[in-house]
Amino acid sequence: MNSVIFLTIVLLALSSYFFGRKKAILIQSNKRLTALPKFYGYYLAIWCGAPAFLLYALWSIFEPSIVRFFILSDYSSQGLLEGELNLFYEKVKSLSRNQYSGELTAELQRSAEKYLNFRDIAKWSKVVIVLSLLIASTGYAYTKISNNTKTREPVEIFLKGVFFLSSLAAILTTIGIIFSLLFQTIEFFQVIPLFDFVFGMHWYPAKAFVRDASEALDPSMYSDTFGAVPIFAGTFFIAFIAMCVAIPIGLLSGIYMAEYASKRLRQYAKPVIEILAGIPTVVYGFFAALTVGPFLKDLGLSLGLEVSAESALAAGGVMGIMIIPFISSLSDDVITSVPQNLRDGSYAMGATKSETIKRVIIPAALPGIVGSILLGVSRAIGETMIVVMASGLAANLTLNPLESTSTITAQIVVILIGDQQFGDPKTQAAFALGLSLFIVTLVLNIVALSVVKKYREKYE
């Protein structure tokens, strides 16, 4: 039914375009047009399609919750819990589809009939109201074009409006992220004190078994379960290991590319190194778990060291490889944009190339390099799959790179993989972790971008 309405609207809008254009050509025979005939067509088509479509979309969004409200209003006085009402409503819906297999009660049957009834009314009134709006708005637009009013300007304003709405998509996404994270996080902190989360030393989400919806929530059940210190420590520790690999290799290869490399080497080596950034992270994760982890373990055995097969070192090291191109490309760009006269001045004083680089170019490019490193750190903190696959999932509080640790991202995956139950502290904990991840990376990005921007302005 919905797709039929949608298609009808689209078809009517399309045909009204041709109709409007034809009308314009008719008008043209005795009057001067205000715009090209096609704008008459656009004008009519927009008035035909847009209001009807808007109403149709709003209706489709709000219909389910309105029907739900009417059905459940019969039971609102009985003091039922939210969870029970939800359960009841799901039963009503499945009964109305004849898929219900549980115990039948008179209430349930009555509500299911009412539900079907409401859906029917809603369906037909939707068809009637949407179509009558379509006819009314098209009629309005038709009288307008018959009077030969301006059509190009309204059409362009409409298009501009659509463009503007599209540009809001980025803001809406940000709002959506903040809304979804914040909402769940606040609920989480109503059960688990913020202090316990930020300063607690034990993280065992497995202990918080999923609770039945009808059971009351007992905060004492979760004491000493959601202490995020080991997670935060693990995240920064693995990011640190990654940067230990990525900064020297990335920075040195960036410098070499910018200052020494021949044109040919630059032409070939640069894109090849950038392939490293294009490889999906799940592939790195597999590589770390299959090759690097066992390799480090064997190496450790031959040196008499106890190395876990899922060590922070394996995950961090492979993550570092992934980050190399971010740092090398950005620092290459930054170094290339250092003005030539700084170099010339240094050479004129008799400095060798490496001395110039170390004493003149790097200090001059430092803000940009720091910015690129910060962006790399933010990548490392937000990286998920490598850690999930290569560094184990138990949250150990350790500074030994040979043991396994876990990160914010890995714990989010651990908690949310499989079926989730909304409204459960365990699920909400993942959102709280997500919010902390979002904040940390946001701050890093803002700092990094503003540093790089300031640097660019300096030399432009």
Partner: protein, 422 residues
């Protein structure tokens, strides 16, 4: 230290520094080479499949069918091919004990019933005769044949028993073990059995997700970029939008997964585990990438083009739609393809919206539950069976092939169609 020595020292430092730079580039390239060789060397065997060709006697008595009448399709469909299969396997070693019969059975994939049945359905003439039939070898023997399993370790640490290996070697000597291109890897859906698992379902899942992602992200991003470059007044609000886009581009992908879970699934109630939700989530993620690319190529269109159009009496909107946007389209498209390639390789957000479910059917629409190629890699990588290791590597090869293909396509569009203005 005199002047001369100091100079030598400085030159040595110069050489050293250059060496460090070269070493760093060499290391980065080495990682790439090691990485790719490892994936290819473990993965290429997955494109071969091992078959056991065994003599099968389609005897009417064994199938409980009437020997004098040619069986119809229905008769064959109703016949019990399990018992028939067991009887056939016993012919490989007539002296086999009870336990050994079970081991014989385990030399074949559990689909042997179906394979025996389809052979008879396809070749009704073989009824009552003894013919050679090609059956899928079990994962263990497949791996032994490909040399991925060591044979010289004690029996209790091996998956394939001594007895199975003895029979297998005998078959091999008779030329009854053959290796062919593994078409089922591309046509089968996921399976718990490594020898039967294929990428068809996850491939379709990826395809649908990318199509949904493209159909949302491309138009919205293009229009947003046009607004910001061509129409937006320079004020605080548009600055705010810009900052937003730049920050979104750097938000970790898993946060988009949380967004998909918390908004698309929980608030809008869209169906879980489907490419539709996956595609919407990915489109939000690729949106900033495409907007940034589109804005860059709109910026690259010289102002003289716009001025010329305006001077000819075109309105701002006409100038934009007829001149600026078409000229900026190649750059936008190549940016879009790069964004989609990123989305194609993304795993974490899809895991959160439930696209990790075990799906053994091939999805037909974006509303059916599915996995995607990277998620398939994750699922298989977490499986313990050795047979899945080569499958993972092969799946990675397929994924990398598509990524390379897309990136080359983006380059091609950029070089072929983009206008250079100087």
């Amino acid at each position: 230290m005199n002047k001369e020595e100091r100079l030598i020292k400085r030159y040595k430092a110069e050489k050293r520094f250059q060496f460090y730079g070269k070493a760093a580039i060499f290391m980065a390239l080495l990682f790439l080479v090691v990485f790719l060789t490892k994936i290819f060397s473990t993965g290429y065997t997955a494109f071969q499949k091992t078959w056991l060709v065994i003599p099968v006697n389609y005897n009417a008595d064994l199938l409980y069918l009437d020997p004098d009448k040619k069986p119809t399709t229905e008769d064959i469909n109703d016949a019990d091919f399990y018992e028939f299969g067991i009887e056939t396997f016993i012919t490989l070693d007539p002296d086999a004990s009870e336990d050994q019969i079970m081991e014989l059975k385990k030399m074949f994939a559990f689909t042997f019933e179906r394979e025996l049945k389809y052979y008879l359905l396809d070749n009704p003439d073989s009824f009552g005769k003894t013919v050679d039939v090609k059956l899928t070898a079990s994962d263990d023997l497949d791996q032994v044949f490909k040399g991925n399993y060591p044979r010289d370790i004690p029996e209790n640490r091996r998956r394939a028993s001594d007895y199975q290996l003895k029979i297998f070697d005998k078959l091999n000597e008779d030329g009854r073990v053959i290796s062919e291109f593994n078409a089922s890897f591309f046509t089968n859906a996921d399976s718990r059995e490594a020898e039967l698992a294929g990428i068809a379902s996850s491939f379709m899942g990826s395809l649908f997700s990318i199509l949904v992602c493209l159909s949302i992200a491309f138009p919205v991003a293009l229009l947003a970029a046009v607004y910001l470059e061509e129409f937006a007044p320079k004020n605080r609000f548009t600055d705010f939008i810009e900052v937003n886009i730049n920050n979104l581009a750097a938000v970790p992908s898993i946060v988009f997964g949380l967004l998909g879970l918390g908004v698309l699934l929980a608030v809008f109630g869209l169906p879980r585990s489907t490419p539709l939700v996956g595609g919407i989530t990915l489109s939000l993620m690729t949106l900033p990438t495409i907007i940034i690319a589109a804005r860059a190529s709109l910026k690259a269109v010289p102002p003289s083009i716009r001025e010329a159009a305006l001077a000819m009496g075109a309105s701002r909107m006409q100038t934009t739609m007829h001149h600026t946007v078409p000229l900026a389209l190649p750059g936008t498209l190549s940016g879009t393809i790069i964004g989609l390639a990123q989305a194609l390789g993304e795993t974490a957000p899809l895991i959160l919206i439930g696209m990790v479910a075990f799906v053994n059917t091939i999805p037909g629409t974006p509303m059916d539950p599915a996995a995607s190629l990277p998620v398939q890699i994750y699922i298989w990588a977490e499986s313990a069976e050795r047979g899945f290791v080569e499958k993972v590597s092969a799946c990675i090869m397929v994924l990398l092939f598509f990524l390379i293909f897309m990136n080359l396509g983006a380059q091609l569009i950029r070089h072929k169609f983009e206008k250079k203005w100087n």
